[in-house]
């Protein structure tokens, strides 16, 4: 009985440790949700970004939104200065080849004149 209790405690500890490591990695991606950059209304000329994943030059951004037919995928410096932007269609994915290691950020931007709901996430690698 005691050995089973120890096994359960060990298992829970392992699960907790694993969760912590995932949590740390996800924290770099802004949050732990599926839409790890944002899931909210964007007013006109509003954008949200997260620091690019560590140690990779390959990053991709995916987004769904409503009611407009595009968003901009943006790449900025760590301080938020614009480096590039690309239009992307609904539930599209843009692959970024970013040879940057200075804390650059990726994200989504509403370039329309009205507010729209934007779900935005980034993923590591191609």
């Amino acid at each position: 009985m005691r050995s089973r209790l120890l096994l359960l405690v060990a298992t829970l500890a392992a699960v907790a440790a694993t969760s912590a490591s995932i949590g740390t990695q996800s924290a770099l991606a802004c949050d732990t949700s599926f839409w790890n950059i944002s899931s909210e209304y964007y007013t006109p000329t509003e954008g949200h970004t997260c620091t690019a994943f560590c140690c990779s030059i390959h990053e991709r951004v995916n987004s769904t939104f409503d009611p407009y037919d595009t968003v901009l995928v943006i790449l900025t410096t760590a301080g938020g200065s614009w480096i590039s932007s690309n239009t992307m269609g609904y539930n599209g994915t843009t692959y970024l080849y970013a040879e940057h290691t200075q804390g650059e950020k990726v994200g989504c931007y509403n370039h329309h004149t009205g507010t729209q709901w934007v779900n935005c996430r980034h993923l590591e690698g191609w």
Binding site: T45, G47, I57, H58, D69, T70, L72, V73, I74, L75, T76, T77, G80, S81, W82, I83, S84, S85, N86, T87, M88, G89, G92, T93, T94, Y95, L96, Y97, A98, E99, Y109, H111, H112, T113, W126
Partner: protein
């Protein structure tokens, strides 16, 4: 009695006919000259208009000038969704050696047609061309000369639907270009590309026209090429 009042004999009639004949011939020659000059002018103008194009050309991806990093990424993504990578083609601008943006198009084993847009440092996924918004779909990409600066480079590429006869690209200086449309298959979908590196040459709108000249759609690009507000 002057010459005009004098009764006319046979000789007078002949002289009068000859005079009228000469005048008629002179008139015809003058008219023909005018028509010829007008026709030459029209041809010159037409040639001038035809010269204002945004060229595009297909060539195998293996022979393209796309940077190796992007090219390998495009090939990898294409293979994941069943596109025959050996048949991938680049739709590049006319001076394709200097082209830094455009489309990569390909077919899957069932003949399904796909397109991905590439620009400096990025590319999109491959999407079925028949799912692109109709009658014309336009991707844009823009970059500043240095981080945070004004727009310095703009690249666009697009897909026109089968009912589109021609596509024009309006530039910010008020002029416009006829986009050269190239096809990968007989699907009727065609592709174009353009890049501008000066403010006057930035594309601000794309128009899709029917064969009779009727406008099918206008895509305003101005907000998508403007620098995002930080």
């Amino acid at each position: 009695m002057d010459a005009f009042d004098r009764p006319k004999g046979k000789g007078d009639t002949m002289r009068a006919w000859t005079l009228e004949h000469r005048r008629l011939i002179a008139g015809i020659v003058g008219l023909a000259t005018t028509v010829a000059v007008a026709a030459i002018g029209a041809v010159v103008l037409a040639v001038g208009e035809a010269g204002a194009t945004a060229p595009a050309a297909l060539r195998p991806l293996d022979e393209s000038a796309i940077p190796e990093g992007l090219r390998s990424g495009l090939t990898e993504i294409a293979s994941r969704i069943g596109i025959e990578t050996a048949g991938l083609q680049e739709v590049a601008g006319g001076n394709s050696d200097a082209s830094r943006s455009g489309l990569v198009v390909g077919l899957d084993s069932r003949g399904g047609e796909y397109a991905a847009f590439y620009s400096p440092g990025s590319f999109t996924e491959f999407s079925p061309v028949e799912e692109a918004p109709k009658p014309v779909y336009v991707w844009t990409s823009a970059q500043p000369a240095s981080p945070g600066g004004a727009t310095a480079h703009v690249e666009i590429a697009g897909i026109s639907a089968p009912n589109v006869s021609s596509v024009t690209i309006q530039l910010s200086d008020g002029s416009s270009l006829d986009a050269e449309l190239v096809a990968l298959s007989r699907s009727g979908f065609r592709f174009f590309t353009y890049q501008g590196d000066t403010p006057a040459a930035f594309p601000i709108a794309v128009r899709a026209l029917r064969a009779d000249g009727a406008e099918l759609a206008v895509r305003d690009l101005s907000s998508s090429i403007a620098p995002p507000q930080s």
